[in-house]
C-alpha cells in the first residue's frame, strides 16, 4: 500500500517512470527525484524522504490488469485515458509560470484550487494564510505539473456555495470538489448559488479547457481522470472492483435516505434546506426554485423506491432508514482503523463517501435520526473531520459571505429595510397628495397671495368635513 500521500497523476507511465519526462527537459522533473509533480518542492525537505520511499514501491503496481481495470473504473468510460498517457509530459511543460499566472488571475479567493492535498503540516508551511496572492506565490514552485493552463483555458467548476461548515452544501458538488482537492486538479472554482448562472443550468458543472460543459458528476470525475488527475491510479484491480461495488452500495442505500432527510422530511426541509437555499439564491429565484428542486427530488425518490401506497409511506421510510443505518455500519466496518478506504491515499471512493457523510454530520438537522446513528460510528466521524481539516482547512474558518450566514442577511437587510420603509412612506404620501390634488379635495389656486391662504384654508376645511 502506498505510504500516505495523495493520488498522483500519471507521469510515471506504466513502462518508464522517468523516461518521457526527462526527455522533454522539464525543469522540475529534472530537478527533483520525485516523480510526482505535486511533490516537487525543493523547499520542503520533509517531503523528499517519503517520496523517495514511495517511488520504490511503485514498480509492483504496473501490470496490465490494473491498467485495464482503471479504464473500466470510470463508469462512463475513460477510453482515451490510456492513449493519452504518453503525451502527458509535454502537456506538463512550462507549468509553474502558467500555473501561477492562472492562479493569480482567479476571480475568486479560491482556496479550493490549492493543488496539493498533502498533509496539513507541509501545506501549512507552504500555504500559510488566506490571501490568494500569498497562496499563489507560495505554491508557484510546488505545482509544476499544471500544463493545462498553458494549453487552453483552465477548467472551471461551478458548484453550490458552502454552508454549514462545508465547502459546498450539495452532495454532487461536494463530491466533485473533494475529488478535485484530492487530485490537485487546477480548477477555477466558482461557488455560486444561482443554478441559472452555471453554463449548463444545473450545478455542479464543469467547463473544460475546450469549452465543453459537463454536468453529470460521474462524467466530471471521468473527465478529470482523462486529464490525468486520477485519484485511483494506485489502486489494485481488486480495490477498483471494490470501489465500484461500494459506490453502488452508497447509491442504492444511502442516497435515497440522504435525499429524504434533506428534502422530503418536512421539518428538516423547512428549517434547514429550504432556508439555506432561499437565503442563498437571488431574488426572485428563491421563491420557486427550492420548491421545484424539492418536487424533483421527491419524484426521483418515488421512482427509485418503487410504487407504494400512501399508508405505506411510514413503513417505507423506516425501511429506508434501517437500510441506511446498516449501510453506514458496513462502511464503518470496511474503513476500520485506516485513514482512507484504501490505505493512506484518498481515492475517488473516499470523495463520495466523504460527501455523503459530511453532509449528514455537519448540517444541523432538527430531525436527525441518521445523524445520531452516524455520530455513534466514531471512525467515520474521525474520517470526516480528518478530510475536512486536511483538504478544506480554511473553509471552516473562512468567514462566509454575508448572504450565507443567518446574521448576514439581517445586517444586509437593515440598511435596505430602512430605506425601503422610508421609500414606501414617501410613496404613500405622494400618492395621497396626488389623489387629493387631482380629485379636487385640495386645490392650489395661483390667485393673489392674499387670497391664497384662505382658499387653501377653505380647501382644508372641506377636506376635514369630508373626512
Amino acid at each position: 500500500m502506498l505510504l500516505g500521500g495523495p493520488p498522483r497523476r500519471s507521469p510515471r507511465s506504466g513502462t518508464s517512470p522517468k523516461g518521457p519526462q526527462s526527455s522533454t527537459g522539464h525543469v522540475h522533473f529534472g530537478k527533483s527525484p520525485q516523480t510526482w509533480p505535486r511533490r516537487t518542492r525543493p523547499r520542503s525537505p520533509g517531503l523528499a524522504a517519503p517520496s523517495g520511499v514511495r517511488g520504490s514501491t511503485q514498480p509492483k503496481r504496473r501490470d496490465f490488469p490494473r491498467r485495464a481495470w482503471l479504464t473500466a473504473l470510470s463508469r462512463y468510460g475513460a477510453r482515451l485515458w490510456m492513449g493519452r498517457r504518453p503525451s502527458l509530459p509535454e502537456a506538463r511543460g512550462p507549468a509553474p509560470r502558467s500555473a501561477a499566472a492562472s492562479r493569480a488571475s482567479r476571480s475568486l479567493a479560491s482556496p479550493e484550487t490549492s493543488p496539493s492535498p498533502l498533509p496539513a503540516t507541509t501545506r501549512g508551511a507552504v500555504a500559510g494564510g488566506g490571501s490568494v496572492q500569498g497562496r499563489a506565490g507560495a505554491q508557484k514552485e510546488v505545482f509544476p505539473g499544471q500544463g493545462a493552463g498553458k494549453m487552453a483555458a483552465p477548467m472551471e467548476l461551478f458548484c453550490w456555495s458552502g454552508g454549514w461548515g462545508l465547502p459546498s452544501v450539495d452532495l454532487d458538488s461536494l463530491a466533485v470538489l473533494t475529488y478535485a482537492r484530492f487530485t490537485g486538479a487546477p480548477l477555477k472554482v466558482h461557488k455560486i448559488s444561482n443554478p441559472w448562472r452555471s453554463p449548463s443550468g444545473t450545478l455542479p458543472a464543469l467547463r473544460t479547457s475546450h469549452g465543453e460543459v459537463i454536468s453529470v458528476p460521474h462524467k466530471i470525475i471521468t473527465h478529470l481522470r482523462k486529464e490525468k488527475y486520477n485519484a485511483d491510479y494506485d489502486l489494485s484491480a481488486r480495490q477498483g472492483a471494490d470501489t465500484l461495488a461500494f459506490m453502488s452500495l452508497l447509491e442504492e442505500k444511502l442516497l435515497p435516505v440522504l435525499v429524504h432527510t434533506f428534502w422530503i422530511d418536512t421539518k428538516n426541509y423547512v428549517e434547514v434546506t429550504r432556508k439555506w437555499y432561499a437565503e442563498a439564491m437571488p431574488f426572485p429565484l428563491n421563491f420557486f426554485l427550492p420548491g421545484r428542486m424539492q418536487r424533483q427530488y421527491m419524484e426521483r425518490l418515488q421512482l427509485l423506491s418503487g410504487e407504494h401506497r400512501p399508508e405505506d409511506e411510514e413503513e417505507l421510510e423506516k425501511e429506508l432508514y434501517r437500510e441506511a443505518r446498516e449501510c453506514l455500519t458496513l462502511l464503518s466496518q470496511s474503513l476500520g482503523t485506516q485513514k482512507f478506504f484504501f490505505g493512506d491515499a484518498p481515492a475517488s471512493l473516499d470523495a463520495f463517501v466523504f460527501s455523503y457523510l459530511a453532509l449528514l454530520l455537519q448540517a444541523k438537522l432538527p430531525n436527525g435520526k441518521l445523524q445520531a446513528h452516524l455520530r455513534g460510528l466514531h471512525n467515520l466521524c474521525a474520517y470526516c473531520t480528518h478530510i475536512l481539516s486536511l483538504y478544506f482547512p480554511w473553509d471552516g474558518a473562512e468567514v462566509p459571505p454575508p448572504r450565507h450566514t443567518p446574521a448576514g442577511p439581517e445586517t444586509e437587510e437593515e440598511p435596505y429595510g430602512r430605506r425601503n420603509q422610508i421609500l414606501s412612506v414617501l410613496a404613500g404620501l405622494a400618492a395621497m397628495v396626488g389623489y387629493a390634488l387631482l380629485s379636487g379635495i385640495v386645490s392650489i389656486q395661483r390667485a393673489t397671495p392674499a387670497r391664497a391662504p384662505s382658499t387653501r384654508a377653505l380647501g382644508m376645511a372641506e377636506e376635514d368635513e369630508e373626512e
Binding site: 461495488a245 421512482l303 427509485l304 413503513e315 423506516k318
Partner: protein
Amino acid sequence: MSLVAEAFVSQIAAAEPWPENATLYQQLKGEQILLSDNAASLAVQAFLQMCNLPIKVVCRANAEYMSPSGKVPFIHVGNQVVSELGPIVQFVKAKGHSLSDGLDEVQKAEMKAYMELVNNMLLTAELYLQWCDEATVGEITHARYGSPYPWPLNHILAYQKQWEIKRKMKAIGWGKKTLDQVLEDVDQCCQALSQRLGTQPYFFNKQPTELDALVFGHLYTILTTQLTNDELSEKVLFLSEDGKW
C-alpha cells in the same frame, strides 16, 4: 415491513421448519418471462438450492401481480409470501439457514456491496436492454410480455410497463445513455466481478453465498437467452471463471 411486524414475522418464521410444499412463483417460462425476471428467479432458485431447501417452481401468467411487492419471483412458504432475493435471504435466515454466517463483518460488507453492484449495474442494464432498446422491445419484449393476454390488453400492458421502466431509467440517469454506454457499464461490472472472484471457486471462502447465487442467476440467464443484440452475452462470456457453473 415495520420493525415490529418484521420481528413478528421472523418469530413466526423461526417457529416453523421449512415445509415440503414451498413454491416459487414466476411468469410463464416459455413464452412470457423476460430476461431480468428470469435472472432474478434463477438467483432465488440457486440460493435455495445452495441452502438445500426444496422448492417447487410454479409458473403463472400473473405472477407479477400476485407478488406483494410487484416483483418476481416470490415464494410461498407455509402461510407467508416473500418476494425478491433480499427479503427471501432474510426470511431463510430467520428459519435458521444462512450461507453467510461464516463471513466476518468486513466480508459481509463487501458481499452486500457487490450484491448492490450487480443490482445496480447488471440488472439495470438488463432492464435497459429489454425496455429501452427499440430493436429488442419491438421484436421480443412486447411480444413476450403481453403474450398471455388477449388483444388489446397485451399491447396496453406492455406499453404501460415500458413507460414505467423508462421513467425509472430517467430518474437514475440512464435515460440518456446509449446502448454502447450501457454495454460498457456491463463490461466494467463484469470485470469488477471477475477481479473479485480471481481464481477462487466462489466469491468468499470455499462456500457459496447469496452473492454467488445472484451472480450466477444473472450471468447464466444472459448467456443463455436469445436477444436481438448478442453483445451482452459476448461481454459476459469473457468471464472465464463462469465455466465452473
